[in-house]
Symmetry: C2
Subunit: 320 residues, 2 copies
């Protein structure tokens, strides 16, 4: 089989139970089946409905399970990850600005519908689990996985343990890092308002009157010598570097992994952030910066790992 772009060679989760993984995003819902041998098989990505997304997931789940079982055989668990505030121990999707739910008991509804063990996780924290176990920070104990896409958030791992705080940890998109632009949260100068992919496009449009469909357009304008694009990009870089200094001061990561859509810029993002961070670090431990290894699949891989952890939690080798 020739691997497609969404399934590059080499991605295996190792042997374990077969599971279904779902990553409900603000725009799209990604899905995958993972076989007992660890093979990761992406399923078709679907548009997330604007209304009733949580109910839609519950309704579709039996068909998605059947689709996965046709590919990898009987599955033993389902892992689903969602954005916003998520109370993982309770299995509740507490709140999402974009998807509009509130205190939705997603795990219990899926479990009773499918009669299958279900893990509910936070998309970014799950991506953090994936990058820390299989990706760019494998084997590290003090890590921040910073995901910059439509929104911005971080999965924080300290002393080897992911931080939850009832779902409130790692909401770095709402750190104040600039004098400035209004944020959806009601504040001003939040990281998300200067450095999210959407903010970069919007700020370029506002500044120049020229259209930008996304941050990639701004990056391409910058490459072509557009000084406005360079200024908007640099504002994002400075905001991210300020955020990394805050993280270094508070949770002391040794490794910072940059993920999400913006990280596809690679060194054009990484190198200016390295320089901006060097100007800011004083007594903090200077983290090493890396681009995410699992790309846009990190959340989905994390969902599969959470589902597999359910089995491990009940087996003889159960870990904390």
């Amino acid at each position: 089989m020739t691997p497609g772009p969404s399934n590059p060679p080499g991605l295996s989760l190792g042997a374990g139970v077969a599971v279904v993984a779902i990553d409900v995003g603000g725009t799209d819902t990604k899905r995958a089946a993972v076989g007992a041998d660890g093979t990761f098989v992406p399923l078709e990505t679907l548009p997330t409905p604007r209304l009733g997304a949580a109910e839609w997931v519950v309704e579709q789940a039996p068909a998605w399970r059947a689709e996965a079982e046709a590919l990898v055989g009987r599955v033993d668990a389902l892992g689903v990850v969602v954005p916003g505030i998520v109370d993982e121990p309770a299995g509740v999707a507490v709140a999402s600005h974009n998807l509009g739910w509130r205190d939705f008991p997603l795990r219990e509804l899926l479990r009773s519908r499918l009669e299958l063990p279900v893990a509910l996780g936070h998309d970014v924290r799950a991506a953090g689990v994936a990058e820390t176990r299989l990706g760019a920070a494998a084997g590290e104990r003090d890590v921040a996985v910073v995901v910059i896409g439509t929104g911005v958030a971080a999965a924080l791992v300290v002393d080897g343990a992911p931080l939850r705080a009832g779902g409130y940890a790692g909401e770095i998109g709402h750190l104040v890092v600039a004098d400035g632009p209004a944020c959806v949260c009601g504040g001003r100068g939040c990281l998300e308002a200067v450095a999210s992919a959407a903010a970069i496009a919007l700020r370029y449009e506002t500044r120049t009157g020229r259209a930008a469909a996304g941050s990639r357009d701004v990056l391409e304008a910058m490459r072509a010598g557009d000084a406005d694009a360079a200024a908007v990009w640099q504002d994002a870089v400075e905001g991210i570097a300020t955020t990394l200094r805050h993280l270094s001061t508070i949770t002391g990561p040794e490794v910072v992994v940059l993920g999400g859509g913006l990280a596809s810029a690679g060194n054009e993002l990484l190198e200016p952030i390295e320089r901006a961070l060097d100007r800011r670090i004083t007594i903090q431990r200077r983290p090493s910066l890396r681009i995410a290894a699992l790309g846009p699949r990190a959340g989905l891989v994390g969902a599969a790992l959470l589902a597999r952890d359910l089995d491990a939690d009940h087996g003889p080798g159960a870990g904390a």
Copy 2:
């Protein structure tokens, strides 16, 4: 016995092994003996020598142990806490600006000198342990204990676990919160440069040309209607509130405990911070703010608890 001001009634650590506790500060070294019944007996506070403080602790330890044993009987462990960067699992005092040591293996030197189990901790994280187990945040799982004295640092507890990150977690004194004043770390606008007790006094002196021996003098001038004192105090309040917003965004505490010398101002500190925080919180979980219950003894109580944990770690009820 009539309790003195340093030993108010009611402080008991509960039944356990008898221990010696030492809190090596930048100015003074506090000591206590804790009996098997939990009685906390403060010993005389000694000035910390400017040079060779770590060696001095090792040299004096046998005499301090004898002094404690004369009061509470045979002790089974020693707990010592120090400022700066501390690697607790390794037992090494990594670095202290004020005390001048570097990579000092304090735990091993004390252990071999005394032939006694020794716990080495960080003064602020130990105070956090004490406030979380016996003090203002007893029973809480997501806590920040913010200690504002000569310096500023925080003990962070997330999901019930204290954050270490190799000793780099919680160095909030070096969050940039203001346009402005130079900090000892080499940065500008750090919290410590606007809100530490020393900074409050210095900023008032610089602004007015009038002497202030400490933050208490500034507080008293503010009470007497001095507008400069009020402005300096308000700058500290705003810096602390900005810091609490950063903490809420990154580690999501439900409870923030304010300790250290500045917290002796009680409601004159707490109430303006409550208002300044209300202006800043958007999507973050709004923490409830409390004044520390254990006061300046929190570090010492934490040292005793760490020493007792050594015994628990080897006993049948050993916890994580």
